[in-house]
Every structure is written in C-alpha cells, then in structure tokens.
Symmetry: C2
Subunit: 451 residues, 2 copies
C-alpha cells in the first residue's frame, strides 16, 4: 500500500470560518441594537454582505466535499488499479475487477458482461456487495440500458431510473424496481468487448458523475487487462495443444495406440499430488511427462517398431533417447524442471538404470515419481510382444520392485491410490477405446517393462 | 478519452469571498472613521475577526489549490494508466511508462532501471522532457539515492538535494548540481525488480508529496505491466524455441544438414516482405514455413531416407504429408494462417501439384510464396542424389517455371531480390557450415526439386 499524505482539512477550516463569521455577525447585531436609539445604523451592505458570506460558505463546503470525495476515490483507484493487471489468469482478473468496483462505488450488484461468440452480451461475473457470487435467478438487469451502451459505446448513468424520463417505457426498469444504474463500455482498442453494469435497488442517487468517471477509467484498464489475459491464455493453450499434437504424432510411430503419453501425464500428476507436491511442481511434471520420450525422434523406425526383443546394438541406440531428449529441449525456460523427467526416467533406484546409473536421491524426484507410473502404463497396455495385464499385476510388480527399480517413498504413495482411480484416469484418456480394459488372461515375462 | 466533469471552481468562489470580506472591512473602516469623533468604537473582535478572515481565505486558497492539482493529476493518471498495460511488448511498455511519468510530474529526466542478471540496477530507458532518449554521457545520476531506495524498498523524495541534510556527504549530488529528485521502487509481488528515478536540475522543489504518491502508484502498475510483458515474452520465446528444436530434430531424420527449415523460414519472410505483406502476415508465414513438413513425422524412415528415386507406392505415402500436417495442427489457433503453407506447399500454379491439384489463386498466397523459396533452397542444397547447385541455376529454374509451377507475381518479386541477399540469409542460418557455399560444378536432372 502507498502511504497517504493528506493535505490540511479544508472542510474543518471552512467550518471554522463559518464560526468566525457568525461571531462577527452577532457582535455587529448587538452593536447595532445598543446604538439603535442613537439613530446609528450600520451600512446596509455590511449586514447583507455577512449574510451572503455565510450562505456562500455553506455552498463552498459542498463543493469542497465533492472534490475531496473524488480525490479520495481517485487515490484508492491509483492504489488498487494495478491489482487488476496483477494476473494473466482470466478468472482472477475478472473477480478482481468486480470486487474493486464494488469497493469504489458502493454498488449493490455488479455484472461484468462480455461479448460471446454469438455476438450477445453474456454475464461472466455477477457479484453482490457482500462479495458473493449471484445465482442466475438474481440476474434481472435492464437489458435496455445495456443495449444502449453497446449501441452508442458510451456510459449511461441514472440516479433514479424510475423517475428519469429517458427510461419511461422500459419495462424492466419498472418491473425490477431498479434505482441507481451505472453502465459503462469495456473497450479494447476500438472494439467494444463488453460492459460493466452496476446497480443499487434501495437507495436513490448513489452513483455520482465522479463514479461514472471512475468506472469508465476502470473499465479502460480492465478491458486491457482482459485482453492481455486472453492473449496469454490463447498462447498458453496453443502451446499445450501443439506439444500434445506433436507428441501424439510421434507416439504413433512407436505404438498402436497414441494414448500412452496422455495417460502417463495424468497418472504422474495424480501420484505427485498424492505426495504433496505444489501446483507449480505439478506443471513441471506435466511438461516432463508429456515430453519424456521426445528423444525417440532420433531412434530409427527399425528399432522403435521392432516386434521382438532388441539386440544389444539396438539397445545402445535406444538407450540414447533420454540424453537426446535433453539435448533437444535444454536451455528452453519452459522445460527447466521437465528435463529432470526427460533425462532420468529410466534410472533405477538401485543404480541399475540408464543412461547414467544414478542411485537413490541422486535421481531427481520428478523422475522417481514418473518411472513408477510409466511402469504402470506399460504393464497395463498391449505391447507388440505381449498383451496388456490387469492393474492387480501392476500393483504386485511395482511393489516387488520397491527399493530396486523404484523409490520406496514413491511406491508407498502409489499403493494408497485405489485401482478404481487409475481405471477412471485411463478411461478419460481413451475416448475411442472405451471398454478395451486390460484383461485377466494376460501374461508375459518379467523384466524390462518399459523401453 | 474519458469525458471530464469539473465541479464548480472553488478557487473562484474563494476569490469572490475575499472580495466580499474586503468590501465589508473597508465599509466598517469608513463607518468607524465617520463616527470616531462621537466616541463610537466597533467591537475589537469584529475588526480582528475580519483580518483573521482574510488571512484564512488566503491559506484556504493554497490548500484548495493543492487538492485541486492532485485531483487533476489523479484524473490524468486514471485516464492514461491503462496505456501502460496496453501492450505485452516490453520496449513499448517501457517507453509508455517513461513518457507518462514526464507528462505527469514535469520531470526533466526520467530513468527506468531494472535489476540485471548480475544483481545491479541497470538503466533500461532514459528520456528527457523533450521526449528524446538520453545519450550515455547524460547518465549521471545519484547512485546513493538509488541504492537507498533499493535497500529500504521505499520512495525517496527531496525537493532540494543540495540543502537537504540527509544528502550532505553524497558527492554525486553536489557534483552534478542535482536539485529535485524523486526515486521510487518498482515492485512485482514482493520483489524489487527496479526503480524509477526522476530529477530536475534547474528549478527547486518541483516534486511534491502528491507527485511521490502518483509516481509510486504508477510504479506499482508499471511493475505489473513489466512482469506481464516478461511472462508473455518468456512463453512466446519458449514456444518458438520448442518448435524450432523439435523441427530441427525431425529435420535430422531426413537430411544431412538440419538447416533447411531455418533457411526457408528466413527466405519466405524476405520474399513476403518484398511483396508488401504485413507484419502479422509475416508471423503466419514464419510459423507455416517452420512447420511446413511436420506431416513427415508419419512418413517411414525407409522412404524419407531413401537415397534414390521413390517408387510410385512410396510416392503415395510421401504425398500424404501436407494433409497429415494439417491433421496434426488443425484447430490450434496459433497455426490458423500457417496451415495454408503446411497443406498447400506442394501445389503447382498450373494445377499439377499435390495433394489437391489446386490451380492459380485457389492456392493460398502464403503457399505460393513458400513454394518458390522451398525450390530455391532445394536447388542450392546437397541432395542424396545430386550436389548443391549455384544460385544462378535456381534463378533460371524458378523463372523457367513461372506460370507452371510458380505464381508469376511471386516469381517477379523473387527476381527483384539480389543473389547476394539470399547468400547473406543462407550464411546466417549456417553458422556451422560457413564457407560450404554451393559450387558451380553441380549438376542433377530437372524435375521435382522438392519432396
């Protein structure tokens, strides 16, 4: 918060002046009374002037109060304006906008409406003065006033909608007993992207011209913040979609189904959340899981698609993929944490993994988490050389490798997750294969479950 | 701009009041003078009260002026504050910040300093009151004051640095004859990311407490805008780097050198710029060129890496790559324009191309531009079945196919670009192969230059 430096209270000084003027007047009154018998009369201008004086002081007090109220509002605005821009996350921005407006104007209800794909104004946020979200049943607003703002692109302020002649024929205004309405456009560059609608159904005249100015200024900022957030969300979404699309296309080279990567993304985030990792860490795990096999871009088809076991020479090439993955994505800020998974997801807790033979806690935590769910998906999916096996087999196998292939802490967390939860996640990622659950008859030899 | 609604001029009313008070006083003075001989004396309080009155009105005028100046500044701030957030482009944001500060405070010089990688405050923008950028020689500022703000995280304001006892021992203040200095921190969340430093070397006392408040509020907004811009730039850069890294890795499957894609990106943007396309269109072309062969993810190694000509069956598979590329990236907003290149870069102007046999203007403009530079790079690069050929051969070949393979308008624009320009672009993209220019002895048969 910014420290406030208040100038001397002008209102108090004006009250003081009124008191002095009254003293002078009463003294002159009694002076005149005392000397009236002597025929002495004070000049008419003096007494008239003093009366004028007192009247003017009262008007002045009102004017100064108006200025002061606006100045104080503007200071609040200056202090909190940046809050609106403090996030590129759209829902956060929208809520900040509304709560700040309620704070500044004392509105009872505020609606933020944005133009939707069908070119209609749609309510995105609706809040009341108790900072609660309104239910759709409480959404009655004057659409006529909204339309007027949308058409003309200018703010509408009415201090008493029921008496204002402009709104005579507007049924909604009468029907909902609305009183004070303030509606301003949200403009990004020259486009009207929405409106902010504030109203108060009980007291009259709560919105002032100063509120209108303030809300318009605020709407300008909010519109820019919304546009920035939108731009950021669009790019972020495109980025995610691009990675998913490319990884799915790459997956298709190696596997019959393209869903392996999407499944291990969900599985690893579930297990990491169970282990108490933060949302920021989950994002890094998500990226790492998504890109874990990216290094296989460079592995020849002949090895990747070989139906039988690999020769030792082929294994040498295959085992390069974690380091190749790091080589491809290293130095890209977005994957700073993710490379932990890409480079170390084939390390084993006992040091028997590859490429570096890391042991125990030398293996990054993300990779220790990931390798367990990678095994889960490998065991419960068809492979060229064996059928998918049931989840129960996966639990047995992962428990069997507790402390050898897998981190005991990771396995312990894994065991607390119900089979049903894994099944549910698998179903999300398999819309086109629903029902193709792993069957009980599956067999296959033990050993390397993943490549 | 927001319409301004000025309250009644309080200053004028105060001036009016002073006039009325003076009239009353002079009338009472002459009244007293007239009646003095009769021993009549007005109460002492009355005349004293009136004198007080006039003094108070003058003080009041000063206080009201202070409030009014602040109110007006805050209104300007409210109106232009959103400008700071109107762009996610960092240099634009920085310039807007500075120009607005100069406008609001009347500073002579304003510096925006940001913490660099070595943890020092580095000057990023330096502007004077004539909206010109300062030369490094004009960069003398009080580092002591900057350090003080950095250490304590609070604004420093001095209206006369030479007389202020706090700055007695600060050599720089004396050396540069600095007068009025205002320095405020730029804070993003709890981190101090920089400072804004404003000063004025000639007049004393130009910065007020109100300026300090204003600049602090402004700095809060600016810090958030800077952080948002940084976040956006980071993501945008990561996105570009990721696409480039993945495309380079995919390129490596097909070609000896991995630079083909990076070259056609530069070539196609150069040709498109020559043809007068907008910056936004150039961005779409850049993305399309970068991803043009993404559909080859699905083409088997055996075809992609075949040293000799393809069989008819192999061609069928190869010719699927434009549609496969569209299938992978379709629906991703980022590639909305780019898919024009991905899907149609093997169409020929006369309708003899693939996959759809589009003719003339049916082929998207971006694709018509791209196919010319794709041919240029194919001809001037080594192929498994022939050596790279000189640029002169590429010009001849592209001109020969004007109206058959290529759009005549595109070829005409291509011909206006000097060979040296292509060579220079090729050199940019070939840091590891510098000097390996295409040689004159190259031959090879005519026909399909690209797959």
């Amino acid at each position: 918060m910014i420290e406030s430096t208040d100038p001397p209270s002008v209102i108090e000084e004006l009250v003081d002046l009124s008191r002095v003027a009254e003293t002078i007047q009463s003294q002159l009154d009694s002076f005149q009374a005392r000397h009236e018998r002597a025929g002495l009369v004070l000049p008419q201008d003096v007494l008239q002037g003093l009366r004028q004086f007192n009247a003017k002081l009262i008007t002045l007090r009102e004017s100064v109060t108006t200025i002061e109220v606006e100045r104080r509002s503007l200071r609040v605005f200056a202090e909190i304006g940046h809050v609106v821009n403090s996030s590129l996350d759209l829902p956060t921005v929208l809520n900040e906008v509304i709560d700040t407006i309620i704070q500044l104007t004392g509105a009872q209800r505020v609606f933020l409406m944005l133009r939707n794909a069908r070119d209609e104004m749609e309510i995105y946020v609706a809040r009341n003065w108790e900072r609660e979200s309104l239910r759709p049943g409480e959404y009655e607003i004057s659409r006529t006033i909204v339309n007027q703002v949308v058409q003309h692109g200018e703010a509408v302020l009415t201090t008493n909608a029921q008496e204002d002649p402009r709104f005579d024929s507007m049924q909604s205004v009468v029907a909902y007993s609305l009183r004070s309405i303030l509606c301003v456009p949200l403009k990004a560059k020259d486009d009207l992207i929405g409106v902010i609608y504030a109203d108060n159904r009980i007291r009259e005249g709560i919105f002032t011209e100063s509120d209108r100015f303030l809300l318009s200024a605020f709407a300008n900022q909010a519109a820019v913040a919304l546009e920035n957030a939108q731009l950021f969300n669009d790019m972020s979404m495109s980025y995610d979609q691009t990675l998913e699309a490319l990884v799915a296309a790459l997956d298709a080279r190696e596997r019959e189904t393209q869903e392996h990567t999407r499944r291990v993304v969900l599985y690893s985030m579930t297990l990491a959340r169970k282990m108490g990792l933060s949302e920021d860490e989950l994002i890094e795990i998500r990226r790492g899981a998504l890109m874990h096999d990216i290094g296989k871009i460079g592995v020849p088809d002949a090895i990747l698609q070989k139906p039988g076991p690999l020769t030792e020479e082929e294994w040498v090439l295959m085992r390069r993929h974690p380091e190749e993955g790091i080589r491809i994505l290293q130095g890209i800020m977005f994957f700073e944490g993710a490379v932990d998974i890409i480079g170390s997801h084939h390390e084993h807790y006992n040091g028997n993994g590859y490429p570096r033979g890391l042991k125990g806690e030398q293996i990054p935590l993300y990779a220790r988490i990931f390798s367990a769910v990678d095994a889960l998906d490998a065991i419960t999916s068809d492979r060229p050389y064996r059928k998918a096996q049931p989840f129960k087999v996966a639990y047995q196998e992962i428990l069997r490798c507790r402390g050898t292939q897998f981190d005991p802490k990771v396995v312990d967390a894994f065991m607390t997750i119900d089979e049903q939860e894994w099944r549910a996640l698998r179903a999300i990622t398999l819309p086109r294969e629903r029902g193709r659950e792993p069957t009980m008859e599956a067999g296959g030899k033990r050993g390397e479950t993943t490549r």
